[in-house]
Symmetry: C3
């Protein structure tokens, strides 16, 4: 019985809400996890701390995206990123969690998870620990919920400066509530990609490329920002940079993303396992310690790769390229951070850093206008990182994981995972965007775009008291 | 014997300081905690990590408050927030800790704590662990000290853009050194509110409403900023927005506050207890895992509530409202984060998000000028969250806590806690502010207010090289 | 055998890289850490979390340094700080780690470490735990690698606004790859300063003063910024403030540095030891709990000290001085955070706060132009903190540590450590800078300095769309 029943004056509405969520009576003593071990406490704590770290990545995205775009659209970008966190958490509570981790309750076996309210630990206590070796039901839920929102956030930057607020929020809700968890269930929920041997440690494909495919679809449907690609008298296309308005914001964003990545990758160990060197695993594969090293080293190498590539290609070393290089390295290492030796992490990061610069330049030539480079960072490097597992993962370790049924990640397995994800995520996003475009409309008016979405969508300005030139 | 005695050249002053603090001789071997268990190490570590997270909330407050106010007052706001952290920690060391946690040494039993230097663990080692089940004396001290400073910081935003620096620092010192610990001792120190059954898990009342009452008193004594409320020719009052100067700063502030709240609420478990599902507690009440979920979900729901309320009431979705919605949800869940089911956390957060928008608008109609919405967020939602425990807390869990003497938190108990806190905090703040007003003066001159406190109080500007319009 | 060998299409280059790094065959079962204890898991986890906290200090430095300098040089400063993290991590992997922690493999016994690739745990598993009581090889590596980069970052602020990018990166690479690890090996690697009794808990000397000496050398070789020191008609020198362009950025920087310092000092315990009160250590020396308290209290006292000193000396309370006061307190406590009683932490922090203000003013009189006060904070307060161990460390504790061979830290020992460090770090930095100056050139042209390094070195601007006056 709940207190609200004794306090009807608090309003029927909230009681109805309670009923709708399927309240159950608490019966004392009906369960019993006999023994919360110390190791369980530590493992669970690390998953929670990782949750907090993944959370701060949302501030990272908000800062990076607003820093790399124009001042007149800053309120709009911050608003989207704030709303997405909320939408991501709430939809994951309502539908996403069970859709992604159906246990035995698949709707279509190994392909489509369960449609049910996602936050009710099993009454018999089994949901609390025995099934979740190193964490409680709630820790599992909140860690995964924080992940979910990141996929939608990735889209936000690519479609910035021209998308209507309402339709974007509708898209995000659908994408994070349905597309992300279904694709995720194929591997992390124990579905068909898991059976197939696909390996994706922390989500180069399942998180980053899913977000990246959404970004690509959005950019295609929306078209470029006004003034980005100009055709001159000779009929040749000129690419005009639409400068970001605050490089410190962009830098804050990238450093916070890296900081959060310690939880994103480190927490994906799903325990505080330091990497037990026994059983032949003297290198520490699968442990949080090695994951911290490969993650950091790949990010560092990504910076080096992007820095020199931009120095050579663009004549001057470009800060936004160096920053995107760090992210490229991070995305690139994410699929295999626990199975790759440190020297190969350097190689993966370096290549990611080179690739991201070339991709940013290449997409511009294709007139795909991605203001923050989200497609290059998350889709292109997400694919690279996933395939890199097939190239560079430690053989002995993968054989061991194969024995344990975790996945072996050959190049072929990885390619299938990449293609299967794209084959669902991209068309789904495309359909959502097209439906929105031809019903409520997806793009703001020309006047609003030129004047800025801050005024048009929010009747606010981001920098009161400063003179900002909207048409710089 | 201390080294300074051997190095008199270092100055008598510091030696005197040592004596003043009551140095004692260290006698080896006089004590003994026989056994520091692994679980103790984890629990203690989590309290320390939480301390770091609560610390970063001060940067959150500094960013939020400066972002939502005018550029000409930025240095002043940052200075206040920097000084308050220092004042909070030092005064808590000198007087606050023992005043708040007197143990058996009350000055007036259950009403007024002990006046003594607050940082000396008991020589017999008992102060290190047996009395503090999951943490050392020092961890307890620094976690609570970080909390203390937040109460004063809350006031800072409400009185911004017009209060003199010196008097504000004097007020803060008095409020954080005396008022906050005394009220806190009533519940967390084991005083009369604890006996009365009042429940306040992490401080909706004891921290946030205490800060909010101080903010309300300050706003009343100071009056509104020049130009905020204009009377037009027909004698009607017009409310003029005095725009904040940096929405990215405001967003950084709110995200950092949320990030820190994982420590604020999560650390208030006072251990790394994952939520043992045995003993009938299959839902995980009282554990850090559930606290992370309710905290995050309430914040998310607060954003949704505030977003839609502002979209409806103000025609356009307002970013500062969405941001304050997150804080509203966080403040609202703080009193009961460990005893409330997740679906009720949604409800509490949603309502907090609606309430904060209506409160901000309502206070403006009352001509109570609170530049950052601190009263609405911390006082109004602090009260809401405290009362919500009486409405929504899980009955079985509260009965269990009642048995353990922790508090039962009926609606009546909660109301008493709310009223008792207001009955002391508000008059105390009012008296402090009035005394300062009629002695040294509380408000800067009209010229200084118009020209900005950065120049008037600090002879500095926050944005050298940028053109900022002080009278936008 | 590695996968790349099966995927030659991935390019010969990466395979060569693998060979160059000395790949070894993984032989299953050849090792065995029989027992990863729970305590080991916690200790190791804390070192990793500390690594993440030390990482975020790099964002702190980037924010602080760009905030305190002019808008026209912001991209350049952010670029340097991004590149340094990458350079620091990669060089520490290639050479730094083994140079600093040679174990038994000194090149010159106790003076010069081992030149070998720094990231290969021993095959027999001994490198994973028995030799590293509370952490794995990888945790040790990444924690120390994060430290390494901070030393170079300190230099960055002092030489800002006039140094060429390329030469600065070359200097940083040499300094962080060679000078920092060699000096560090003398104490932390078990070299001659360790034998001598020198005590430096977390690096007031080994990190901060090493960075500070580099900063001093750079400032001397470069000379002041154009327009900083003007000689008037009467031949007297006038000091012109070249205002920082964003005090919020500076404040964000300092708060993040403090936040990171919980890992910098707290992690230097090298375990999650809460401070076992048994064995006569009732005060909790050497534990993370006390380290959190002394660190926070010294920072708070540093703010108080700097605030009042600047209020008295400069008539108005200066925000940048208060912020530097926090850093001064933090640097000051770093050498002895685990062996000093809390009341002495207040004294050390207060004095550091006073000293940093006087030092900033004094260096300006000497025409040593340090735009961010790095020399005052890191060198002067680093020396102060190191010597303070000799004055204020707890005698009983130091006697205990002396018995354990950890160091006794008398004033004489400390002075030797300070002088020995300066005697190598300063000339080394001076030689590097002079060689660069007389070969490739160290300083940008007059035109580039006046127009800003953002345009000159990067062909970018930090604040697109804002009107910024380069010559304010």
């Amino acid at each position: 019985m709940h207190r609200c029943q004794r306090w009807l004056s608090a309003g029927l509405v909230v009681c109805v809400a309670g009923v709708a969520f399927g309240q159950d009576a608490v019966t004392a003593g009906e369960t019993g996890l006999a023994n919360v071990t110390d190791r369980f406490v530590v493992d669970n704590l690390w998953l929670l701390i990782s949750t907090a770290l993944v959370f701060i990545m949302h501030l990272g995205f908000a800062s990076l995206e607003s820093g790399l775009t124009q001042a007149k659209n800053t309120v709009n970008i911050l608003f989207k990123n704030t709303a997405i966190v909320a939408i991501g958490l709430i939809t994951y509570l309502i539908i996403g969690f069970n859709l992604m981790y159906p246990g035995e309750a698949w709707t279509v076996s190994n392909w489509l998870g369960a449609f049910s309210f996602g936050a009710s630990p099993a009454h018999d206590g089994s949901g609390m620990t025995p099934d979740y070796a190193g964490y409680t039901y709630w820790s599992d839920f909140i860690f995964q919920a924080m992940f979910a929102a990141t996929a939608a956030t990735i889209v936000s930057g690519a479609v910035a400066e021209r998308i209507k607020l309402g339709p974007f929020l509708v898209f995000s809700t659908l994408y994070v509530a349905i597309v992300y968890p279904i694709i995720g269930s194929w591997k992390w929920g124990g579905g068909w990609l898991a059976d197939r041997g696909f390996y994706d440690f922390a989500g180069s494909t399942l998180v980053h490329s899913v977000g990246g495919w959404g970004a690509l679809a959005g950019v295609i449907v929306l078209g470029p920002r006004i003034g980005k690609y100009l055709v001159n008298e000779e009929g040749k296309c000129q690419i005009r940079p639409l400068l970001g308005h605050s490089m410190p914001l962009a830098a804050i964003g990238v450093f916070l993303l890296w900081f959060g990545w310690f939880g994103f990758n480190g927490g994906s160990v799903l325990s505080a396992d330091p990497g037990d060197p026994s059983d032949g695993n003297w290198y520490g594969f699968g442990g949080v310690s090695l994951v911290f090293v490969t993650t950091s080293i790949a990010a560092a190498a990504g910076i080096i790769g992007a820095m020199f590539t931009s120095w050579i290609v663009q004549a001057k070393p470009d800060l936004s390229m160096a920053l995107n290089g760090a992210l490229a390295g991070l995305v690139g290492i994410t699929a295999g951070a626990d199975v790759i030796r440190v020297e190969w992490a350097v190689v993966i990061g370096l290549i990611a850093g080179v690739v991201v610069v070339l991709s940013v330049i290449g997409l511009d030539r294709l007139r795909l206008d991605d203001p923050v480079g989200a497609i290059s960072v998350h889709l292109v490097c997400g694919i690279w990182g996933t395939l890199a597992v097939g190239l560079f993962a430690d053989d002995a370790r993968m054989t061991q994981l194969d024995t344990e049924g975790v996945g072996v990640g050959t190049f072929g397995d990885q390619l299938i995972g990449v293609l299967a994800t794209g084959a669902v995520a991209f068309p789904a996003a495309l359909i959502f965007f097209l439906i929105l475009r031809f019903t409520v409309g997806l793009r703001v008016s020309r006047d609003e775009e030129l004047g800025g979405l801050d005024f048009g969508e929010h009747a606010m300005e981001a920098y009161g008291g400063f003179q900002v030139f909207p048409d710089h």
